[in-house]
Structures are given as structure tokens and as C-alpha cells.
Symmetry: C2
Subunit: 117 residues, 2 copies
Amino acid sequence: MPIVAARHLDTVFSALGDPVRLAIVENLSTSTSGHAMVNDLAALFPISLQAVSKHIKVLEAAGVVSQGRDGRHRPVSLVQSSISTASDWLDDRTRQLEARYARLDHVLANIHEGTRS
Amino acid sequence: MPIVAARHLDTVFSALGDPVRLAIVENLSTSTSGHAMVNDLAALFPISLQAVSKHIKVLEAAGVVSQGRDGRHRPVSLVQSSISTASDWLDDRTRQLEARYARLDHVLANIHEGTRS
DNA sequence: TTGACATTCAACTGTTTGATTGAATAAGAT
DNA sequence: ATCTTATTCAATCAAACAGTTGAATGTCAA
């Protein structure tokens, strides 16, 4: 079965394709609690709170993070499945590349054997 | 001009964050030869050859593909290290998420033990 | 109720991007 | 030499994007 890319995989990669959003994801993945407030995340970057809020919306639209509700806070946390989906797709690419190299090695080995006979 | 510019992870993700470019990468990874001509890739999409050529340039600038020279052809092939770099980063995120879940399980188990005592 | 805090919405702006068409370059085929 | 093929370069355009400031919403705390 050929492994088919998820329908909106490009949206996930696009969401990760910005230094601020990549840093947000990294921060969330390394935080002990697994979530962070918009305000705390905004403090990490030299841009306005509103700009960070927008970045979070982009990540959320791509399914990379989700936002809950805790009083007047909106805790942001990673959605593991989206990370896994992207990771799996890249792993598939790596495996296919390695498989081709392996086939190439095999062909070269056969050629070598042929020259000896 | 020898390529190899400062390639950052967000640039790689950004390059993958487009359906045409993602399909190009997928096509290259599944092709038997491991490379493809610009013309052949362009035939896969309902956009102009020049647009596809630009997409390839974006992928090349991000270090995701490289282009060789074979007569009047410019064969495009994947650069494994860039795929691996992105894959490794996502794997790290996945591992951190799993580690946190494991710690949470542990905490919950302790709480449960506490209620029994 | 008033005020502070956390966050979003709305409007605006400059930059980047994805696409187009037409012209240019380069190399194989006739 | 000329023609055809493969690909890129250049100019252009509309749409999307990342950022800003200012106003609005909702919630806690006095």
C-alpha cells in the first residue's frame, strides 16, 4: 500500500514554516505542563501580543495546537496527532530514499560479481 | 554558483508548506531513479512550467532538493539530510510529548495509590 | 461596580508569494 | 546553420502574509 499524504499536510508544514511559530511549538513541547498562556508565549518574541495571537490562530487552523479555556486565560497546547502525521510522512520519505540506496548497492554488487566471473 | 546557503528548519518546513512542492518531494521519493526532469514534474500539475521551475528553486534554496546537469536537462533529486533534519526535529517533539504523558500517568498512578491508603 | 488583566477583533500597511506571459539561453537533432 | 527541446529569466499582478495600533470582549478581584 502506498502511504498517502494526509490531505492537509502542506498546511501543517506551512504552519511550521515560520520561525516564531516553530519556536512556539518547541516551547510547548519542552514545557513541563504541556501548555502555555498567550501572554507567556508573547513574552518570548519581540513582536506584539496580537501578532503572537495571530500566529497561534494559524497553528490552530492547521491543527498543530488547540486552545482551551481557563477563566480569562486561553491555554495553548500541542496536538500530538498533527505532529505525528507530519513526522510519519517525513519518515516515509526517508525510508524510500534508503530503500533506493539499498537497491543501488545491490545493483553495484551484482555488477562487481559479474566482472569477476 | 555552488549552492549550500544558510538553511534553517523553518525554511525547510516553509518549502514543504505548499501542495505543489509537497507533491514534487513525494514524487521524487517514490521515483525509481531518484530524480526527475523539470518537464516531467511540470506535467503533474495544472500550472505553467515556469511556475514549477520556481517551486523547484524554492525547494533548492531550502536545501530540500538539488539540481544537476545532464545535457539540456536539469535533473532534480532529493537531499536526504534536509529531510532527515526535519524528521529528527519532529521526532524530538513527539518524544517530548510522550515523555510528558508518561510522567502524567505516573502522577495519576501515585494519586490513585494515595486514595487507597 | 469599577478597574485591571488576558485575549481577540478590526482596520491598515508594507512585503512576500504564486501565478502568468514573453523573451532569452543552452544544447541536442536535422 | 537551423530548428526544436529544456529550462530559466524578467516583468507584472493579485492574493496572502506578518506586522502594527486602537477598540472591544470577557473574566477576575477590590
